[in-house]
């Protein structure tokens, strides 16, 4: 069995968890094993149908009042207990803030190997083989894990989401005891950023700006352009972040986030190695820069050599027109 931890936020299963479930289903098919979804929380039974819709044969429900608020300790305890009893061959997570926080704890508890932030999973001679970027994508490591089970986190926006078709299967409720004193840390509050924009790691389109923007006020141009798309976010180069023009959570590159959107638009970014490492796995790259020699043009599928202050407003108008059609 390949089991997948279903991360829930705001009473919904995260899209990246459903992507992980879709990938598990594909690989489990090759291995001729079943796929199971694991729902953990206070009261999460409502979410069972979405897991069945993506092809889980079984859904394990682990409900406990101690699991209402996320705690890496309590959740790791619940998942390790599940693995110990049910003995899946593998347990997948989405490589989100929660998945990256939780999966290592579960792995350590089980003494199991963990493949972090995978971008490809294959079945070779009946065993899972994982590929993940290292050095922020300057190189890719392919490997197997010796342990059973094998744990993996899967990079969001990378594995295709399966088609949802209404379905049903077996729901298994599991009780878990969480001893008093076992949990010494928990989330007390979730503070949402006010902007309605999605995170750069989850966006379909990322519009990033660099030194060429000349100042923090001009990031408004990027926000305007991003607003044309349904799921877009604004990114930035390290020098723009280090100049204090925009928050570091927008930074794309080796000391920022690695992104792989369908469309990456680099505006006024020259293309330092550490920036290229963070965005080179984007499907299509567009660069706008006045310097025709900028390294960013070497990786861009389409480039506009020109003044970004003239190009961006026109580009916004043209995109709006095209998307309205």
């Amino acid at each position: 069995m390949i089991a997948v931890f279903m991360e829930t936020r705001d009473g919904k299963i995260k899209k990246s968890s459903l992507e992980a479930l879709s990938e598990a289903k594909r690989r489990a098919g090759e291995m001729e094993v079943e796929t199971a979804a694991v729902l953990v929380g206070g009261a999460v039974a409502d979410l069972v149908p979405s897991a069945f819709a993506l092809g889980a044969a079984k859904v394990y429900l682990i409900e406990n009042k101690a699991l209402v608020d996320y705690s890496s300790q309590a959740y790791a305890l619940a998942l390790a207990e599940f693995v110990g009893e049910v003995k899946p061959a593998a347990l997948f997570f989405a490589a989100t803030a929660m998945g990256r926080d939780l999966a290592p704890r579960v792995a350590a508890r089980l003494g199991a190997g963990l493949a972090s932030d995978c971008v490809k999973i294959a079945v070779k001679a009946g065993a899972l083989e994982f590929t993940r970027p290292i050095y922020a994508g300057k190189a890719y490591l392919t490997f197997t894990l010796r342990s059973t089970p094998k744990l993996a986190t899967l990079r969001p926006n990378t594995f295709p989401l399966g088609e949802a078709v209404p379905g049903a299967g077996e729901v298994v409720e599991r009780q878990i005891a969480i001893p008093d004193g076992a949990v010494k840390g928990r989330v007390a509050e979730v503070i949402k950023e006010e902007s309605a924009e999605v995170d750069v790691t989850e966006a379909d389109v990322v519009v990033s700006g660099g030194r060429g923007l000349k100042g923090p006020e001009n990031f408004a141009l990027l926000h305007d352009l991003a607003a044309v798309f349904p799921r877009a976010a604004v990114g930035a180069s390290r020098s723009a972040v280090d100049s204090g023009w925009i928050g570091h959570q927008h930074q794309v590159g080796q000391t920022g986030k690695t992104v792989s959107p369908n469309l990456y638009i680099a505006v006024g970014i020259s293309g330092a190695i550490q920036h290229l490492a963070g965005m080179s796995s984007s499907k299509v790259i567009v660069a706008v820069n006045k310097d025709a020699e900028a390294p960013i043009f070497k990786v861009a599928d389409y480039g506009i050599v020109g003044d970004l202050f003239e190009v961006l407003p026109r580009l916004k108008d043209e995109l709006k027109k095209a998307l309205a059609e």
Partner: protein, 260 residues
């Protein structure tokens, strides 16, 4: 408050990474090695906490002799003591192995630690596994990817980054915290600090002293391939009138790239 900061020596982020195919490893010649950038935020946070609350800041690195340079930088920044846990094995990419070494070192050599600080990930292996694994092995709570940390008595409150917002995590000490960019602005070493750091002894802890069995030191990871990504090809360049080029770009994105 006794703080232990775990740091790693990595190639700097401007490095071009080359592969040695026969050994499936990264070619190290010609690379410039530095302290992993996120670890610098961890060291700075430890120093700030010591300034506010008193106590000690100790720094440890698991690695080869060359990691001493990174430890010396931490001493020059102001850490009280630095230790090398000597591990001559090549990079295994296995977080669990390193976590077991660190967890055991904490138990045997750094008992009484109130706060374990790490960078949120090394810049290189990019696993972000070790800190949470150490926390689990030691039965400690954790807050990872933290941009704000407050310690009050025996508890800590941390803000950690999540998609589209922050989580406020409340921890009872001892605890593990990992530093994200934005937590602070790391200080530069002073000349006086550099001179003092040169004179400090950096004790070496041998792996054998930690009493880990061969099973615990075996890597879970079996590397089957290591590649550099295919170079992206430079594409079409548009120049000239902004309206014309914008229109042509949108046409190409729709008709050719099919992304809009």
């Amino acid at each position: 408050m006794n703080i232990l900061v775990c740091v790693k020596r990595v190639p700097d982020t401007e490095s071009r990474i080359r592969i040695q195919l026969e050994t499936k490893s990264i070619a190290e010649d010609g690379l410039n090695f530095v302290i992993s950038p996120y670890d610098e935020y961890a060291v700075e946070e430890a120093l700030k906490l010591r300034e506010a609350k008193g106590g000690t800041v100790r720094v440890v690195s698991v690695g080869k002799d060359a990691a001493v340079a990174v430890l010396r930088k931490c001493l020059a920044m102001g850490a009280d003591e630095a230790f090398l846990v000597k591990d001559d094995s090549p990079e295994t990419y296995d977080g669990l192995r390193t976590a077991r070494i660190i967890a055991r070192a904490v138990e045997r050599k750094f008992a009484g630690t109130d706060l374990l600080l790490f960078g949120k990930q090394s810049v290189g292996a990019d696993n972000s596994q070790v800190p949470a694994m150490v926390a689990e092995l030691l039965g400690l709570p954790q807050a990872t990817v933290v941009t704000k940390l407050e310690v009050e008595g025996t508890s800590a409150t941390a803000l950690r980054e999540i998609e589209g917002g922050m989580e406020k995590v409340v921890l009872s000490l001892p605890a593990v915290v990992t530093a994200q960019k934005g937590l602070n602005e790391p200080r530069y070493e002073t000349l006086k600090g550099i001179m003092a750091a040169k004179k400090k002894d950096i004790p070496v802890v041998k792996l054998e002293e930690l009493g880990l069995g061969p099973d615990e030191l075996a890597s879970q990871v079996e590397v089957t391939g290591l590649d550099v990504p295919a170079q992206r090809q430079a594409g079409k360049i548009l120049k000239g009138d902004p309206i014309e080029t914008a229109r042509e770009l949108v046409r190409l994105l729709r008709a050719e790239a099919k992304v809009i």
